[in-house]
């Protein structure tokens, strides 16, 4: 008996008990549906994160810090390593160091980390934001090479800035959408929310109020403390800049907003009076010296040269950190998440497997005489076994296919429900689920495997039936 005959025979046997086959298959459908929707959530999260990293070119980025830090050792809680790091003498990240880094083969661009807070006014509305200084060369790289409107600044001393799309809402600006007409709610109108086209914002002036230390005010500040009327020794400076570009949203997981909502040319940033630190930690670090940077961002021209560049940097006794290093760790984390979600789905499938065993055992009891007849006319044990395996495989495969469809529908509905919640808040639609080819094929293979495993005992039992007894069976 060849495989085609077995498949035809299997189908016809299942067709005879339609309702039972349908219910058993439904168990597999639900099992695979649960499994795939859960795992697709895990893979969707992973894809969103890795895509965001890729879109922001983070895999080719290196952050250089003054101290050599072994992230893995610290993460593992090695007390001696942390103590060692604290004891280490810092290598100051100076301009000469920056020049040396730029000379390393493979380094495309290197610039110091410069961030500062400021109060910004745009089109009559003000908000407090962080500025991030960046050289004009960054316009070549993702995500800065893909602007929503306008363009990235051309020179490091130009008086124009790039605004991230995400922060426009803080200036009560909603952008026009070609696909969907935006209608303001009464609440929005009362707040004074404006609907503008992205292009209309380009060329507009922003007023930047930055804070800097005024040393002459320090004695007054001290006296004021004594008088119990505290005064701060700071001075406000107003700088006028122009908006030359709006940067597209970087996606739900790629947002770099914590670094700064407005990107400013390095040269321009240096001219703006501001507090001489980029974070509170700089203030706390008594070794922080004027003319040094807290960190330096490095971009390499080819991911393959990552190790080479990192080695050269480590030789300069500075701390080196790259996202690429953490990718494996991130992947491991997602694997754990996928496994947990998969395990929950697998439970449903195992229950479905028990359903298959039950169906098959019942089927054997009902078909004992038929099995005896098949043996009497020459059916071998292997063929009888195979007939049952084929029946289970058909249930597994059909259940797998419809389970995938069910899983896909469930994830689509879940996405729709979730987006219905976040879209009114002005967020971009999210796609939290992802069905990669391996998940589709893997789910089908798993469904098939569970079904065949479930048929193992019934098939063996059927094959071992004594034909003489079976022929007497009613």
């Amino acid at each position: 008996m060849n495989l085609t005959d077995m498949i035809i025979l299997g189908f016809s046997n299942l067709w005879r008990t339609k309702l039972r086959t349908l219910l058993t298959t439904l168990g597999v459908v639900i099992g695979i549906g649960a499994l795939t929707s859960m795992v697709s959530f895990g893979t969707g999260m992973q894809k969103n994160v890795t895509d965001a990293f890729k879109n922001n070119d983070l895999f080719t980025s290196i952050t250089v810090t003054p101290k050599q830090v072994n992230i893995d050792e610290i993460a593992s809680g090695s007390v001696s390593e942390i103590a060692e790091t604290l004891k280490q003498e810092s290598v100051p990240l100076t301009d000469s160091m920056l020049r040396a880094i730029k000379q390393i083969p493979g380094v495309e661009i290197a610039y110091p980390n410069m961030e500062f807070p400021a109060r910004v006014t745009l089109l009559g509305d003000s908000t407090s934001l962080r500025f991030q200084a960046m050289p004009a060369e960054m316009k070549k790289y993702k995500p800065f090479n893909d602007m929503l409107a306008g363009s990235f600044y051309k020179t490091d001393s130009s008086g124009c800035v790039v605004i991230r799309e995400e922060i426009l809402s803080r200036f009560k600006i909603r952008l026009e959408n070609d696909d969907k007409k935006i209608i303001l709610t009464k609440e929005d109108s009362a707040k004074g929310v404006k609907i503008l086209s992205p292009d209309s914002i380009i060329g507009k002036t922003i007023s930047v109020v930055s804070l800097s230390m005024n040393t002459s005010k320090i004695p007054n500040a001290l006296f004021s403390l004594l008088r119990n009327k505290p005064e701060v020794p700071f001075e406000e400076t107003v700088t006028e800049l122009t908006v030359c570009g709006i940067l597209k949203k970087s996606g739900p997981f790629g947002s770099d907003l914590f670094k700064g909502g407005i990107i400013i040319p390095t040269g321009t940033a240096q001219k703006i009076p501001k507090l001489g630190f980029s974070s509170v930690y700089d203030l706390l670090d008594n070794k922080h010296k004027k003319g040094t940077y807290s960190s330096i961002h490095v971009r390499i021209n080819d991911l393959k040269r990552m190790d080479e560049v990192k080695k050269a940097l480590k030789d300069m006794k500075v701390g080196v950190f790259s996202v690429a290093d953490q990718l494996e760790e991130i992947k491991r984390g997602f694997l754990l998440l996928d496994s947990m979600l998969g395990a929950i789905g697998a439970i449903a499938l195992i229950v479905a497997g028990l359903g298959i065993i039950n169906t098959m055992v019942m089927s054997i009891l009902e078909r004992t005489r038929e099995i005896g007849i098949m043996k009497a006319i020459g059916g071998s044990e292997t063929e009888i076994k195979m007939i049952f395996f084929v029946e289970a495989a058909v249930i597994g495969l059909i259940g797998g296919i419809f389970g995938l469809i069910l899983g896909w529908i469930v994830t689509k509905v879940a996405n729709l429900v979730m987006n219905a919640q976040i879209l009114p808040a002005g967020e971009d639609p999210l796609s939290l689920f992802y069905f990669p080819a391996w998940l589709i094929l893997g789910a089908l293979a798993f469904s098939l495997f569970i079904s065949l495993a479930a048929a193992l005992y019934p098939a063996m039992r059927a094959a071992r039936i004594d034909p003489v007894k079976a022929l007497r069976h009613d």
């Binding site: 008996m1 060849n2 085609t4 005959d5 025979l9 005879r16 005489r369 038929e370 005896g372 007849i373 098949m374 043996k375 009497a376 006319i377 020459g378 059916g379 071998s380 044990e381 292997t382 063929e383 004594d466 034909p467 003489v468 022929l471």
Partner: protein
């Protein structure tokens, strides 16, 4: 020339710790093309003997040499092949698959026999036509009379051109007229195809008409091995 040689055949069933002998030292030979009948009362061991010759069961002792091969030395697959190609079996209760029609029941044997799909339907139709059921191909066993069901069973038994037909009480469930028709079919097959037939029956009278040789069994033993005229 003997196609089947049975020697010192014994079969014992175990029920708990008790051994129940079903066959005791059974010895006989059947020549090719012979119509051989085994008569005896219920429980005499004749069906057990047929099951052992058909390879449905294994003997406890003795030998069954079929066409030069010892059935007791065969493994399970070889026994399945013996049932598939060497012998065809028909039973008192027909043993047809109720959910399949006449044509499909015969085709099932052809499937096990490895007959290509494009030849199966024609071959099954031919076989059913030969037993007079060319007009009842798509009828299921429930839609056929007892005699018709037995004809389907005969057609199925002949599907893979066996050398021997084993008939276990083939007329036991039939009225005398229909029984006569079935016996006639078996007799014709024996004569026209030179097909060896072993028939187990209660009906000594019928056996005497069609058989070349008859053995009578009692309590698992052959009690007489007479010539045809002596049995009468």
């Amino acid at each position: 020339m003997a196609i089947l040689s049975v020697s010192g055949l014994e079969k014992t069933y175990k029920k708990g710790k008790v051994d129940i002998p079903a066959l005791l030292n059974v010895t006989f030979e059947i020549n090719e093309g012979e119509f051989f009948s085994v008569v005896g009362k219920s429980g005499s061991g004749k069906s057990t003997l047929l099951n052992l010759i058909g390879g449905l069961d294994r003997a406890t002792a003795g030998t069954i040499i079929f066409d030069g091969n010892d059935l007791r030395k065969m493994n399970r697959t070889e026994l399945a092949n013996h049932r598939r190609f060497s012998v065809g079996m028909i039973f008192q209760s027909f043993n047809l698959i109720k959910s399949r029609n006449a044509l499909e029941n015969v085709e099932l044997a052809l499937i096990f026999g490895g007959v290509p799909r494009n030849q199966r339907s024609k071959k099954a139709t031919d076989l059913l036509t030969q037993v007079g059921l060319g007009h009842r191909l798509t009828h299921t066993p429930d839609e056929l009379s007892g005699g018709e069901n037995q004809r389907v069973a005969i057609a199925r038994a002949l599907a893979n051109n066996p050398k021997m037909l084993l008939a276990d009480e083939p007329t036991g469930n039939l009225d005398s007229e229909t029984a006569g028709e079935i016996i006639e079919i078996l007799s014709n097959l024996n004569k026209s195809r030179h097909l060896t037939v072993i028939m187990v029956t209660h009906d000594l009278e019928t056996a005497e008409i069609v058989s070349d040789h008859i053995i009578r069994m009692k309590d698992g033993k052959i009690v007489e091995l007479p010539q045809k005229t002596e049995v009468l």
